[in-house]
């Protein structure tokens, strides 16, 4: 589900600039599966799919698979369109040292949203 985060680094070059000093490793959990994402200088360097025996990471985002599916829709429904919206509905949990996440909040939001099939860009 999140394996493809490794695929689109070129398309995300502008996004990587927003996090050019960020080096971290975080876990995304769908309850039934886990993905360990390694970031160097704002670029996704590696994504490993679980199961893991002794995974080491800085912070973890956990939501049921069906909630991640809703988040990853082209045009997500209200309440599923943002990770803080999911936090508000108590379907997503943030755990661990949240400093890398909160100091690069927009970067992580856009990184995850980059997996949506088509970007929502409407210009008036």
């Amino acid at each position: 589900m999140f394996k493809s985060l490794i695929d689109d680094n070129e398309k995300r070059s502008q996004l990587s600039i927003m996090a050019q000093y960020l080096n971290t490793c975080f876990m995304i959990s769908t309850i039934e599966n886990e993905y360990l994402v390694n970031i160097e200088k704002g670029v996704v360097k590696n994504v490993e799919e679980g199961p893991f025996v002794m995974p080491s990471y800085v912070f973890k985002l956990t939501a049921p698979k069906n909630e991640w599916i809703k988040f990853l829709q082209n045009t997500p429904q209200p309440g599923s369109h943002d990770i803080i919206a999911m936090l508000r509905r108590k379907v997503l949990k943030f755990e661990g040292d949240l400093h890398p996440l909160m100091s690069h909040l927009l970067y992580f939001k856009l990184l995850l949203a980059s997996l949506r099939p088509v970007e929502n860009k409407i210009e008036n």
């Binding site: 369109h81 803080i84 508000r88 927009l106 939001k109 008036n124």
Partner: protein
């Protein structure tokens, strides 16, 4: 080069609020019924740029938007220090009333969004006779904290970046990216701790419980409009508020927490019929 000039004029003035002088900036356009607009927490009056340019509204309304003290181009009070800024209900009411008195506005309409959508409820409870109508955007009677707001003001996190990141998510995925970016940019320019300090009002001091029942819509008409993508003040919370007051709420499709700024075209479709009811 020919430039496209907007009909907006900006001014500064000194206002006494709770006995202290504040240098306040405001913008206005149009003529007729005064319509005072209140921006959201941690932002400024630029959020109402579309209203200030809307010919249809400007024919009947004098749209006036001020930056709250410590926000936008309004200054902190003289001799201010970087401090633990916290917006209280009383101070928020005082600045609105001082502004209205200072400009000698008679029975204005006041429209506020988010914290502004909350304070109009306090105005409805305390001074209904002073207003022609009150319009709440993204209004809810109370809000329990759902994330740790200490992240909004700490020296090891860039305040502009985190506040912008929070604001971005409150907007609808269907809103135009250019307007979303501008709305986020205002948050990125806010002073350290100001967004967090405003949220003290929004999540603690300004919460209203049973006092909502004191609102009498016959003394001053109230209109409530909420964007469907707002997860801070949700349409369900506005509906509950509207039910208590005994009025209908308007749920706006395809917009989130900042309707007038993130998607003005969509928002104005909902606002025009409301303003048409106000004479």
């Amino acid at each position: 080069m020919k430039i496209e000039k907007e009909p907006i004029s900006g001014q500064y003035g000194k206002f006494k609020i709770d006995g202290i002088d504040y240098r306040i900036y405001w913008e206005e356009a149009g003529q007729g019924i005064p319509l005072v607009c209140l921006h959201t927490a941690g932002s400024d009056g630029r959020q109402y740029r579309a209203l200030l340019n809307d010919k249809k509204i400007l024919e009947r309304f004098r749209v006036i938007v001020f930056d709250m003290p410590w926000h936008g181009k309004s200054s902190p009070p003289e001799n201010a220090q970087i401090q633990n800024y916290k917006l209280s209900t009383d101070f928020y009411i005082s600045q609105i009333m001082s502004f209205i008195d200072g400009l000698e506005l008679i029975k204005p309409v006041v429209m506020g969004c988010s914290i502004g959508g909350r304070i109009i409820l306090h105005l409805a409870i305390n001074f209904p006779e002073k207003f022609r109508a009150l319009i709440g955007l993204q209004s809810a009677g109370h809000l329990d904290p759902y994330y740790d707001i200490s992240w909004l003001h700490r020296q090891d996190v860039h305040g502009g970046e985190v506040c912008g990141g929070i604001a971005y998510g409150l907007m609808a995925p269907t809103s135009p990216e250019s307007h979303k970016f501008e709305t986020m940019w205002h948050y990125m320019q806010s002073g350290p701790g100001i967004f967090k300090g405003d949220l003290f009002f929004y999540k603690f001091d300004g919460n209203i419980g049973n006092e909502i029942k004191k609102i009498d819509n016959s003394k001053c008409p109230i209109y409530l409009l909420t964007g469907e993508y707002d997860y801070s003040a949700t349409p369900e919370e506005t509906k509950s508020l509207a039910d208590t007051i005994g009025i209908e709420m308007i749920k706006m499709k395809n917009v989130g927490h900042f309707p007038m700024s993130e998607n003005p075209k969509e928002f104005l479709k909902y606002l025009h019929p409301v303003l048409n009811k106000i004479n």
